[in-house]
C-alpha cells in the first residue's frame, strides 16, 4: 500500500513536482476542470517579492513605484511581519504559475492544485475574463509595452517618461471601459497598429483643436454641440484621444497603462470568487490525493494547517481584523453551494429552490462561469453561512452621532446583509464615480470632470488635488472637478491650477 505514496519528507525535486502535477491534473480532469496548459516556473523568494511588487506581472515595465513596493515588501518579509504569497499566477495562455524554491513539497503541491488548476480554470471560464482579457496575448503585449517604454526612456529621458507614467498611474482606476469591449490584442498587430495609430491619433486631435474655421456653418454647428457629447467614464481613454498637446509617444504610454488597467479589471471584480474557487479545489484535490493513498498523513497535516490559516477570519473586534477575508468568504460559499446541491435543508430549499437537490458539479461550474463577486454574493450567500460567520450589518451615517446596527444573522436580517455585502463588492460604489463632463473646445480648453456622490460620500480633498495635478500634466490646460450630490447640487469644486 505504501509503495503508491508519491513522496515523504519536505524536500522537493522537479521530478516530484512533475509527479504531483500529473496526479493532481488527472484528478482535475475527472472533475472536468477546463484549464489552459500550465507553465510552472520555480523562482526564489526575492524574485517573488519582485514579481509581487511589479503588480504581479513578470515582465512589467520599469517604474520607481515598483521599486518602492519592492523595498517595503522586502523589509516586512525580512522582519517576519508577513509571509510571502505562496504563489503567483498569471492569467495567460499557457497559464504561468510561480512556485517559490523555499517552500516544502506539501506547499508546492498545494500551490499546484490552487493555482495551476483552481485559478487557471477560473481564468479560462469566468465570463468577465473571457470577455475582457485575452490570455493569449497578454505576455506579448507586456513585452511590447516594456520595450516601448524603455525605448521612450532612451529617446525622451527617464524623467519625461516617468512623469507621464506617474500621471497615468494616478488615473489607472479610471482607465477602464465598464461596458464597451476592448478588441483582442496581439503583438504583431499591436506594433503595426501603434505606428499607424501615432499618425492617425495626431490627425484626429488636430482636427478637434483646429483653430482656423473651415466654414461658417460648421463653426456654428460646433458651437452649439457640447463636447464630449456624453460624459466619459474612461478618463485615460479620453486623454489618449483628445488631450490637446500630448506627443504621439505620450499617447501610446497612456494607452499602455489603460490596457493594463483593463486587463486587471476582472481580477478586482472577482477576488472573492476566484480565491474561493481555487481554495475549494485545492481542498478537494489534495483530499482526493489522500483518499487515493498517494500522500502521507504528515502531508495532510501540514496542508490542513496552512489551509486553515489561509481561510481564517478574525472577528470585527480582533486586533488582527483587516476586513472580510476574501479567501474565507469565497471558500465557504463554494463549499456551501455543494452542500445546498447535495444535502439541502428545508431553509435551503426555500432560499435556493433552483439549486437544491441538483448535481453539485454543474451547479458550481455555472456559479463560477456566470457571476462576479457582487452578483455571486447576491445570488448565493446563504442564511447558514451568514450564521456561521456571524455577519452583521452596520450603518455609518455622518448625520447621526452613533453607528446603527441594521441587521444581524436572523430571519429578518439575512436578505439585508446579503444586499449590503453584495454592494460592498460593487466596485463602482467603492471608487468615486468621476467622469469627463465638458471641454471648452473653443475657448480656454478647460477640462471639467464631474464627481457624482454615492450616498453623500465626499472626496478626500488632499488626494483629489494631487490627482488633479497629474491630470493637468496630461491635459496641460486648466482642469476642474465638480463634486455633485446625486440630485445634481454642486458640493465642492477642485481646480488645478488652483483658482
Amino acid at each position: 500500500m505504501t509503495d503508491k505514496i508519491l513522496s515523504t519528507g519536505s524536500e522537493w525535486t522537479f521530478d516530484l513536482i512533475a509527479d504531483y502535477d500529473r496526479e493532481i491534473g488527472n484528478l482535475a480532469r475527472d472533475y472536468k476542470l477546463d484549464t489552459y496548459p500550465n507553465q510552472i516556473e520555480m523562482i526564489s523568494a526575492e524574485q517573488m517579492i519582485d514579481a509581487y511588487a511589479s503588480t504581479g506581472m513578470p515582465i512589467n515595465y520599469t517604474h520607481w513605484s515598483f521599486g518602492k513596493r519592492f523595498v517595503s515588501v522586502e523589509k516586512s518579509y525580512q522582519r517576519g511581519h508577513m509571509g510571502l504569497a505562496y504563489e503567483l499566477v498569471i492569467n495567460s495562455n499557457p497559464c504561468v504559475s510561480y512556485l517559490m524554491e523555499e517552500n516544502t513539497m506539501t506547499m508546492q503541491a498545494l500551490v499546484i492544485a490552487h493555482a495551476c488548476y483552481g485559478h487557471n480554470s477560473f481564468f479560462k471560464s469566468n465570463y468577465l475574463f473571457k470577455m475582457w482579457t485575452s490570455a493569449d496575448a497578454i505576455i506579448d503585449y507586456l513585452m511590447f509595452a516594456k520595450h516601448y517604454i524603455s525605448e521612450c526612456e532612451e529617446r525622451h529621458g527617464i524623467v519625461a517618461v516617468e512623469s507621464i507614467l506617474d500621471a497615468c498611474h494616478a488615473l489607472m482606476n479610471y482607465g477602464v471601459d465598464r461596458y464597451k469591449h476592448p478588441a483582442p490584442l496581439s503583438l504583431q498587430e499591436e506594433k503595426i497598429r501603434q505606428q499607424n495609430r501615432e499618425n492617425y491619433l495626431q490627425s484626429e486631435v488636430n482636427e478637434l483643436w483646429r483653430t482656423v474655421p473651415k466654414s461658417k456653418n460648421l463653426a456654428e454647428t460646433k458651437q452649439t454641440q457640447q463636447f464630449p457629447a456624453e460624459p466619459q467614464e474612461n478618463i485615460l481613454y479620453f486623454i489618449e484621444k483628445h488631450a490637446p498637446l500630448l506627443a504621439p509617444w505620450q499617447r501610446e504610454i497612456v494607452r499602455i497603462v489603460r490596457k493594463i488597467a483593463q486587463y486587471f479589471y476582472p481580477q478586482k471584480q472577482t477576488k472573492v470568487m476566484n480565491e474561493g474557487w481555487a481554495c475549494f479545489w485545492h481542498y478537494r484535490l489534495l483530499h482526493d490525493l489522500y483518499d487515493a493513498k498517494l500522500v502521507t498523513d504528515e502531508f495532510m497535516l501540514e496542508f490542513l494547517q496552512t489551509h486553515t490559516s489561509v481561510i481564517a477570519q478574525p472577528a470585527y473586534n480582533s486586533p488582527h481584523f483587516s476586513g472580510l477575508n476574501p479567501y474565507t468568504l469565497g471558500y465557504h460559499m463554494m463549499q456551501d453551494i455543494r452542500r445546498i446541491a447535495e444535502n439541502p435543508t428545508e431553509e435551503d430549499k426555500r432560499w435556493f429552490p433552483q439549486h437544491a437537490n441538483t448535481d453539485w458539479l454543474p451547479t458550481l461550474d455555472t456559479a463560477m462561469r456566470c457571476y462576479k463577486d457582487e452578483s455571486f454574493i447576491a445570488q448565493f450567500l446563504s442564511p447558514k453561512l451568514i450564521r456561521d460567520l456571524k455577519l452583521f450589518h452596520m450603518l455609518d451615517d455622518e448625520r447621526h452621532p452613533s453607528l446603527h446596527i441594521g441587521a444581524i444573522h436572523n430571519e429578518e436580517g439575512y436578505q439585508r446583509i446579503r444586499e449590503a455585502l453584495s454592494s460592498q463588492y460593487n466596485l463602482s460604489h467603492n471608487e468615486p464615480d468621476i467622469q469627463v463632463f465638458l471641454v471648452d473646445v473653443n475657448g480656454s480648453r478647460d477640462l471639467t470632470l464631474h464627481h457624482t456622490q454615492y450616498q453623500n460620500m465626499p472626496l478626500h480633498p488632499h488626494t483629489t488635488n494631487e490627482v488633479l495635478k497629474h491630470l493637468h500634466t496630461l491635459w496641460q490646460f486648466p482642469v476642474n472637478l465638480k463634486s455633485l450630490t446625486s440630485d445634481g447640487q454642486t458640493v465642492t469644486e477642485f481646480h488645478c491650477p488652483p483658482k
Binding site: 496548459p37 516556473e41 526575492e46 521599486g67 472577528a315 476586513g323 472580510l324 455609518d396 453607528l403 488626494t463
Partner: protein
C-alpha cells in the same frame, strides 16, 4: 501538458526598480547621508544607513473617499449586537469603518517610508563624482614597490637556488641519451667478439676485440653522474606592486583659539578624507598630530576632545609630520595624505619657516596635502604663505570654511575630479 522552467538563476531583477526609486529620491538620500556623517566616528563611518522619507513625498495619489456620507458595512463575528443597537462612533483613526477596503496610500496614516541604504550605496552617494587628484597616476604610472614571485626555472643562478629535483631529472635524461650510443656500440662489439670466437680467429684479434669492449665499458662508467649543464635554478622575478597602503595624517591646531565648533568642523572634514581614502586603499593608518606651541602624536579621543591652551607654532607640527614620514612611512611603500585644519593663527615669524618646510621636505613626499582654515573672518599670515604654495604645487590644496554647512562643498572643491 505542463511545462516546468527553472528561473532561479536570473536573480536581482528587483534592483532595477530599486535603482529607479533611488534615482527619484536621491535628494532625500544625499541629505540623509550628509546628516549621518556628523553623528559617526571616523572609523565607524562606513555602514549602511536608514533613510526616512516623508510619506507625502512618495505618495501615489488616487481618487478616493474620505470619511463622511453614508456607508453600509458588513462585518463578521458578531458577539453582542442585535438589530437596532446604537454604537458610539469610534475615533476616526482606527474606525472599523472602511471594511470594504480602500487601503489608502495617503490619507490619515502618516507612517514615514523607511529606506535602507547599504554600506556601498551610502559611500556611493558620499563620494559621488569625487576623485583624488593624481590618484590614478600614482597607482598606474609611479609604481615604486616590487614583490618577487616565482617564475619557472632557469639555467643560471646562484647555488642556494638550485632545484635538486629538476637538476636530477635533467641529469638522468642526459645520461640515458649519452649512454644509449655507447650501449649500442658495446652490443655491436660483444657480438663481434662472439663472432670472432666462433670462426676461431687468432688470439691477437680476439684480444683486440676484448679491449674494444673494455674501452666502451669504461666510457659508460665515465659518463658523469651530474654535470653543470644539468643544473636548474628556481627562477624568481620582480613584478611591480602598487602600494595599497595609505597613511593619513590629521594635523590640527588645538590652541586656545580653536573652540568646540571649529573642532567639530575639522572632525567632519577628517572623516570625509578617511572615508574617501578607504575606498581606494585596502589598509589605512590614521596618525593624529595636534599642536599648539609644540606638537604631539595622540589618540583619536585625545585629538578631538582634550583641551589645550597656549600660543600657536605650526612648524612644530610640520616638523613632527616630516619626521614621522621619514622614520615610519617610507613614501615608496605608503601613499601619504595629510589633512591640516587650523583657524589660521600662527606666530608670524614662524610662517616663512612653515612654507620652506612644506616646499622642500613635505610636499615632495606626500600624495596630497589639504589645508582647511576654519575662520569666518579675515585670513592671517599662514593663509598667505600657503596660498603661494598652492599656486606652485598641484598636490597642495587649501580652502576656507566658515560654517558647518560648508564642509561638504569645500571637500568637493578640494578633491573634485580634475578634467584632463
Amino acid at each position: 501538458m505542463t511545462q516546468f522552467i527553472d528561473r532561479r538563476s536570473t536573480r536581482h531583477k528587483g534592483t532595477v526598480n530599486r535603482r529607479r526609486f533611488m534615482l527619484r529620491y536621491q535628494d532625500h538620500l544625499k541629505k540623509a547621508v550628509f546628516d549621518a556623517v556628523g553623528k559617526r566616528s571616523i572609523t565607524g563611518i562606513d555602514q549602511g544607513e536608514q533613510v526616512i522619507i516623508p510619506k507625502k513625498d512618495i505618495a501615489e495619489p488616487m481618487f478616493q473617499h474620505t470619511t463622511g456620507g453614508m456607508r453600509h458595512i458588513v462585518l463578521p463575528g458578531n458577539d453582542q449586537y442585535i438589530t437596532g443597537d446604537k454604537i458610539e462612533r469610534p475615533e476616526q483613526q482606527n474606525g472599523q469603518g472602511s471594511g470594504a477596503g480602500d487601503p489608502s496610500n495617503e490619507g490619515e496614516g502618516s507612517d514615514d517610508f523607511i529606506f535602507e541604504l547599504t554600506r556601498e550605496e551610502f559611500l556611493e552617494y558620499y563620494f559621488d563624482g569625487l576623485e583624488l587628484p593624481d590618484l590614478v597616476k600614482k597607482e598606474l604610472a609611479q609604481i615604486n614597490t616590487f614583490k618577487t614571485i616565482r617564475a619557472g626555472y632557469s639555467t643560471t643562478g646562484i647555488p642556494t637556488n638550485i632545484n635538486v629535483q629538476r637538476s636530477m631529472r635533467q641529469a638522468l635524461g642526459r645520461k640515458m641519451a649519452v649512454n644509449a650510443l655507447f650501449k649500442r656500440r658495446l652490443e655491436a662489439a660483444e657480438q663481434n667478439y662472439l663472432y670472432l670466437k666462433t670462426i676461431d680467429s687468432d688470439r691477437l684479434t680476439l684480444e683486440q676485440a676484448l679491449n674494444e669492449i673494455e674501452l666502451i665499458k669504461k666510457k659508460i662508467v665515465t659518463v658523469p653522474f651530474i654535470d653543470t649543464i644539468d643544473l636548474r635554478y628556481n627562477n624568481r622575478i620582480k613584478i611591480p606592486a602598487p602600494a595599497t597602503n595609505a597613511v593619513m595624517f590629521c594635523v590640527m591646531d588645538v590652541s586656545g583659539s580653536m573652540d568646540e565648533i571649529k573642532k567639530d568642523i575639522a572632525k567632519r572634514f577628517f572623516i570625509l578624507l578617511y572615508l574617501f581614502l578607504k575606498r581606494s586603499y585596502s589598509k589605512i593608518e590614521l596618525i593624529f598630530i595636534r599642536h599648539h606651541t609644540s606638537a604631539k602624536e595622540v589618540s583619536e579621543q585625545d585629538f578631538f576632545y582634550s583641551r589645550e591652551t597656549g600660543g600657536t607654532v605650526v612648524s612644530s607640527a610640520l616638523e613632527l609630520l616630516h619626521q614621522t614620514i621619514e622614520t615610519r612611512y617610507n613614501p615608496s611603500a605608503w601613499n601619504v595624505y595629510v589633512a591640516q585644519a587650523s583657524d589660521g593663527d600662527n606666530w608670524n615669524a614662524d610662517t616663512p619657516h612653515c612654507t620652506d618646510l612644506l616646499r622642500q621636505k613635505i610636499i615632495p613626499l606626500v600624495q596630497y596635502f589639504s589645508y582647511i582654515e576654519i575662520m569666518p573672518r579675515h585670513h592671517q599670515s599662514l593663509w598667505e604663505g600657503y596660498a603661494q604654495l598652492a599656486a606652485q604645487h598641484p598636490n597642495f590644496a587649501m580652502q576656507n570654511i566658515d560654517q558647518i554647512s560648508d564642509i561638504y562643498p569645500v571637500f568637493r572643491e578640494l578633491f573634485k575630479r580634475k578634467t584632463a
